[in-house]
């Protein structure tokens, strides 16, 4: 590579050297250089993202068990099955998509609004602010296994602490949080909000600190009250952050696995079995990897459409 570079420089006509005033222009670099700088990432991207994307699609066109010698080609059959009522996978798959959709629908608004309120409070100056910032963020450092098992026992219908204290307060103490509807959704969404709101709050907080204080001063001069200042200064200032939060929260919620796997274990029946949970069961426990891959693509496609819609909505508002 080095010799190539020398040759290239020497082969260049002297005229250009003169025009450049003797020194090298910033643009006068080996055309490969930027790609070499990107290479380490591109290699990883290629191996861990690009290749699996295509390989996964290839798998989805077969009945694939990586240990069986026969991996019969089935074309789009795995996809057709997903859209054929009564096939072995379609009922379970759409049930799991519905569960995922419900979880996303219930958790995203809470995870967008509550962290914003928390961030607004933590953005004020008051004694102990740093302490509270840590407190709200703390649950986020726990792994999903800890959160899941902790809440499964806290929320147990018969031996859980939550029902015990509800009973002490004279409230109904026999709610089956983890295996009855609609309570199972509370058991999934509640702990998720408790667990991850700190992360969103930190991002909001960074966004709030980026808003120019002069804008608030100007608004005050114009006689805007707190609510108006929030509506016309804070919210517009947070727009890019808000889009980011909505998009990542939707994607994270749509990928819910650990909570449903540990807290409700899919119960009652498989009403709270999420799409990822079903895909993992099919692909990694039952080893029907072709069909599981097909489900992954359908799920990924749905998420891509939702993400695009988010961008479109926010772009429209900016115009």
């Amino acid at each position: 590579m080095a010799t190539q570079e020398v040759e290239a420089t020497e082969a260049r006509p002297p005229l250009s050297k003169n025009l450049a005033g003797g020194g090298r222009k910033p643009t006068d670099v080996n055309p490969l250089t930027p790609y070499l700088f990107m290479a380490p990432y591109l290699v990883l991207f290629g191996i861990f993202i690009l290749f699996p994307v295509f390989y996964g699609f290839w798998i989805s066109l077969h009945n694939w068990d990586y240990l069986l010698p026969g991996k019969p080609w089935v074309g789009l059959q795995n996809y057709i099955d997903l859209f054929t009522p009564g096939s072995p996978t379609s009922g379970f798959f759409w049930q799991s998509m519905e569960a995922t959709g419900k979880f996303t629908l219930f958790s995203v608004p809470l995870l967008v609004v509550i962290p914003l309120l928390v961030a607004l409070i933590l953005n004020q100056s008051f004694p102990g602010r740093a302490f509270f910032r840590t407190v709200y963020f703390a649950p986020y450092v726990l792994g999903v296994a800890v959160v899941g098992i902790l809440w499964r026992y806290l929320l147990d219908a018969n031996v859980g602490l939550v029902n015990y204290y509800l009973g002490r307060l004279g409230l109904p103490d026999d709610i089956a949080w983890t295996n009855d509807l609609p309570w199972a959704w509370v058991a999934l969404v509640g702990p998720t909000v408790w667990w991850t709101l700190g992360f969103n709050a930190v991002i909001y907080l960074a966004g709030l600190q980026d808003i120019d204080p002069a804008l608030y001063d100007a608004a005050k001069v114009d006689g805007a009250n707190r609510w108006r200042r929030f509506l016309h200064v804070t919210l517009p200032g947070l727009r890019p952050i808000l889009l980011f939060i909505i998009v990542i929260t939707i994607l994270a919620s749509a990928n819910v696995f650990g909570q449903t796997y540990l807290i409700t274990e899919g119960a009652p029946g498989d009403d709270t079995r999420s799409a990822i949970m079903y895909i993992a069961e099919q692909g990694l426990e039952n080893f029907t990897m072709g069909s599981a891959s097909a489900m992954s693509y359908v799920l990924a496609l749905c998420l891509a459409v939702i993400s695009l819609a988010n961008f479109a909505i926010f772009r429209y508002r900016e115009d």
């Binding site: 993202i49 290749f51 699996p52 994307v53 390989y55 996964g56 798998i59 009945n63 068990d65 990586y66 240990l67 069986l68 010698p69 026969g70 019969p72 072995p88 009922g91 379970f92 499964r152 026992y153 147990d156 219908a157 018969n158 031996v159 859980g160 026999d174 089956a176 983890t178 295996n179 980011f244 998009v247 994607l251 994270a252 990928n255 274990e265 899919g266 119960a267 009652p268 029946g269 498989d270 079995r273 990822i276 895909i279 993992a280 069961e281 990694l284 426990e285 039952n286 080893f287 029907t288 990897m289 599981a292 891959s293 489900m295 992954s296 693509y297 799920l299 990924a300 998420l303 891509a304």
Partner: protein, 443 residues
Amino acid sequence: MGRRVTRQEFLLMSAGAGAGFVLAGCGGAPEDNPAVQQQAGAGSGEEYKGPKVDLSFWNGFTGGDGPYMRKLVEEFSSQHDNINVTMNTVVWASYYQKVPAAVSSGEGPDVGIMHIDTVATNAARAVILPLDDVAKALKLKESDFVPVVWNAGIYEGKRYGIPLDVHPFGDFYNKDVMKKGGLDPNEPPETKDDFMGALEQLKSEGVQGFWVPTVPPGSTWLFEAMLWQYGGDLYNEDVTKAAWNSDAGVDALTWLIDLIKNGYSPENVGDGADLVAFQNGNNAFYWSGIWNINPLRAAGVNYGAVPLPQIGSQKATWANSHNFVIMNKRGQDPNKIAASKVFINWISTHSAEWAKAGQVPARNSVRESSTFQDLEFQSNLAEQLPYVRFPPSVPGIGDVQLTALDPAVNEALLLKKDPKTALDESASQANQLLKENRQKYQA
């Protein structure tokens, strides 16, 4: 933000496709394994005289049973100068995913433990090797073992598992609660009438005596035990159709549901809640696996353990069994296979120690030993061996339970679906899955 999206996508792909270890490639069929071809001449299983080898032994004994097995393994290694065994435990939940991946990449264990109902699946997937010659070298025969266990290790006419133990369900009863409820703590109920009478007596004292678990797999195991007691079975003879929606199945499930409806059990018993309640003295009877013997003792519960009462028309109980298997590793050293035989034989003959972990040894001679007979609860539950039942040895059978039967029993016990509907629906799902599995494993 774009990066975030692609990372999420990537997670999806890898979750769905398991793309990471697919790359590792596929292990060949067992007969292609050079170690297998030479295996016949490799050692009697009584003794190993070859060069020193290191054996890797994997199992899922992550609970109180782990230390017992580790002790046995250490004892074995110290008695054999030329065999060193390293034990590695992986929780059962991920064991059956990790082992195949590891074995196919040539990195996995040499010897392992598998449950009897997973042996056929792993045999069909070429994860484990046929062991007929091991059984022959060790002169093991059906009459040395409980027949039902010995025969369950056979897939397509070849033996793949050497049974180590049987772990049946049993009736754990809390003596303190029985006493408090006005029952004789030394007379645990043996018949349906006794049992219902005891529950009624406890109910009158304000105790819900038998908490019916709703969360699989415990709930499914309980249902299966009752299904067999009522004279039903899980599948038809050639395992092409689910049979759990028979009258026997409906009766069995209805009996469990009535326990809840009549207030002998609370509703919505969550995962582990029945065990917690039993330990805390809130219920009297806990029907679960023999592996609870040590944990309950450690928790300081004053309890006894006896065979399940007979509720249905015949005696039966759910059980499973740990089996030794030898892995179909690429490029396996025949010396290691010879050493593995010695290891399996040694542990099997010393399995009385293993029984202390809360197990019933599969080997008759060990069960008849005084060491085992002195273990009161273990030998009580061992009385059930003549009528223990397993799921059939068919590849992919675990998937059918997981996908179809588990949610159905769960919904019925949560009183969300009536038992007949739940069982019928799941049986027709199961029939489809069974058909898919037949195509998959024949292809």
